[in-house]
Amino acid sequence: MIKTPTSRRSFLKAGTAVSGGLLMAVNLPGTLGQAMAAGTVHTPNAWVHIADDNTITILSAHSEMGQGVHTSMPMLVAEELNVEMNQIKVTDAPPGAVYVNALLGAQITGGSTSVRGSWEKLRIAGAQVREMLISAAAAQWNVDRSQLKADKGMVLGPNGKKATYGSLAAAAAKLPVPEKPALKDPKDFRIVGKRTKRVDTPAKTNGTAEFGIDVTLPGMVYATVQQCPVIGGKVKSFDAAQAKGMPGVQAVVQISDGVAVVADSWWRAKKAMETVKVQWDEGAGSTLSTASIINGTRDAAKSGKVIEITKPQGDVAAALKGAAKVIEAEYVSPMQSHSPLEPMNFTAHVQGEKVLLIGPTQFQQGAQGAVAAALKVKPEDITLKTTFLGGGFGRRLELDFVVQAAEISKAVNKPVKLLWTREEDMMHDYYRPAGVNQLKAGVDANGMPVALHFKVASQSVTQRAFGLPKETLDPFMAEAAVAGYNIPNTKHDLVIHDTGVRVGYWRAVSHSMNAFANESFIDELAKAAGQDPYAYRMKMLSGKPRYANVLKLAAEKAGWGKPLPAGRARGIALMEGYDSYLAEVAEVSLNKDGSVRVHKVTVAADVGHMVNPDTVEAQLQSSIVFGVGAVLKHQITMANGRVQETNYNSYEPVRMHESPQIDIVLVKSTEKPGGIGEPGTAVAAPAIANAVAALTGKRVRSLPITADALRTA
């Protein structure tokens, strides 16, 4: 494995050493921070800031990367604070212990956790402030709290008494924070569960939204980097003589990960970089190839140390022996890149011991901790401001580009905006690991499974990123391994194999490979049994009402079983992920060149209690389009340790003409909220693969399902 110089675990420690809450709030950059220092903004708690002029600002601990958290997080607060969404502003929270995502143990936006982790926390935060404002008014008016209520930013009292939240905020902020304020009965919600306009849309339709790439600081210079074509390789020497003489070039500096050119415009830096010749020590990664990665993983599946994902049920060996028939299949998922549209970038200004960082990150605490470790400064001397993220998908959990920006700023003693080229971005990702899933089932005389042995071999992101001890279960490799079907004898095994690739968390993480395998395999069993894949699944879902419900709803909406035009077929798939239940039906045909066209995906989703149903729909659309690309088009390949895909021609995201119609059925539910940013991607793969198998009679078990893959299947 290619090691990062300091483990992420120490970043986490460094990050959590920073004190949270009110102290952190005064480190907020920008006008809010200045107003706080001047005493005109009050902080009843870490989530709600109320100014004397009645401006109410809600802090989002989660980064806005398109998933709508700058709307859904404030909705939770506003619901209990009793303010309208048009009365509030949203800003990104600074790093701080109070903003830690309890589901992940760090201040991270990822894992489809934002709503799940904030559902109670932010409603409590809103209710606390509401109660404090009421208490402040009660004291001011010398009346009992029970006579007061808070509504639309005002506290209302007897005899027409009223006061704005702003006028009460200073007094309220001095009161003790109630630990357990009363929360509304969900049936009384006015905001949560209602379709709500995104607060960030207007800025994203007139060019004013500030992404990392748009940051400017007085005196700022521009940088770009060249990293070793073999990830992890180091600079041996470099020749920058020509670059240094080029217009606008200010410096060429070596940093931990490579060489940076600094100039008075980014284009000049980039042009100069084209002339910089670097001699690399390529390191251990230079022998990697796609074949070595996949074959090594397959060998590990056969003979590697087995880790139980869950306790075995029944006796699989005996049931297999007694089965009428045994069916086996192997499924292969390739590496994937995140490739968000905004290339990696960050802006840094190092001034002695003090550091300012501005940019797009999914991991505020990590960014702060990583730069503290790299520059040997104190985390609390690092101010970090989060911008909008031009896509994340897991890539911006990583901290490489943040540290690079800080190193360059330190070297040139100026504020620096670092921006990578697309090629650097695609060839220096933290890739979704490849996976090999081997499944074996014993079926009875009716073709129904009596035993299932599931095994997945892949690489652990959590070992690399967070130092998870070897040979222990990485839960991010076991997602959706256990499907919802009633099968009496089951065994679910994991083998962790380190291929040497630098791997990262990617949209839906291991759900994508495990659901592809499980749901393809169930289809294969149905076919072997001569049964309809929908009916076959349904037979195994008694006592699983949420699974069965979404399966039925998707099938009904898609017209499952109804005739289709010639040359089209449907496929179905089902999964639970992030506490959400999804079924998808894909309708496909073949293009003239033999590639697959997905015409329509119908999805039924039970995501528990929804915060913003419009965002749920948007995320389903988004994750399905993302999934279409992964299943039909995308793979990252390697030769001599070099990633072969370099830009959007060799790793081409789904385009408008390839994007399917998406029909959505949402289940109304009062179950606890599930995550919805990711699972749709994972279910799309088997739904499409099953449709292709139904159409062509060919089962492609290795993604992506390209025209070539179909020809040779």
Partner: protein, 154 residues
């Protein structure tokens, strides 16, 4: 040597080397950051602007080629989101991360300038050069049709 042209109806002058792509002149010299960099190879459309009314990829448009011409960027649609496309984008809550949307809007604006009643195939043709990694395509399609209907009535 400086190059003179118009941006959103106002005179502009740039002093960058004349082979500098218009994208970087707009962003770094003129401070108009609404136009985005995605690929640097005319593959993604994030940098789409209009030159004399035609949608072009500004990452592949040298400064020298816009001398004396009219450049329009997302900032020129309207600052207050009153252009029919902006109204439709907001109505449908099209953007997710939002990074590609300046380019999407400019490609859509070039389409509707010529065709106020685009079919699905017309939309595919005009918009397939613009990648949205968030997959907002269903909403982009709906918003373009909505804006087209508004513009037909106007």
């Amino acid at each position: 040597m400086s190059v003179n042209f118009q941006v959103n109806g106002k005179p502009a002058q740039a002093n960058a080397e004349t082979d500098t792509p218009l994208l970087w002149v707009l962003r770094d010299e003129l401070g108009m950051t609404g136009t985005k960099f995605g690929c640097g190879a005319a593959l993604c459309g994030a940098c789409t602007v209009h030159v004399n009314g035609e949608a072009v990829r500004s990452c592949q448009t040298p400064l020298s080629t816009v001398s004396g011409k009219k450049v329009a960027t997302v900032e020129g649609l309207s600052k207050n989101n009153t252009h029919p496309l902006q109204v439709a984008w907001i109505k449908h809550d099209v953007p997710q991360c939002g990074y590609c949307q300046s380019g999407q809007l400019m490609s859509a604006a070039a389409l509707l300038a010529k065709n106020k009643n685009p079919s699905d195939a017309d939309i595919d043709n005009a918009m397939s050069g613009n990648i949205c990694r968030c997959g907002t395509y269903p909403r982009i399609r709906a918003a373009i049709k909505d804006a087209a209907a508004t513009m037909r009535k106007a």
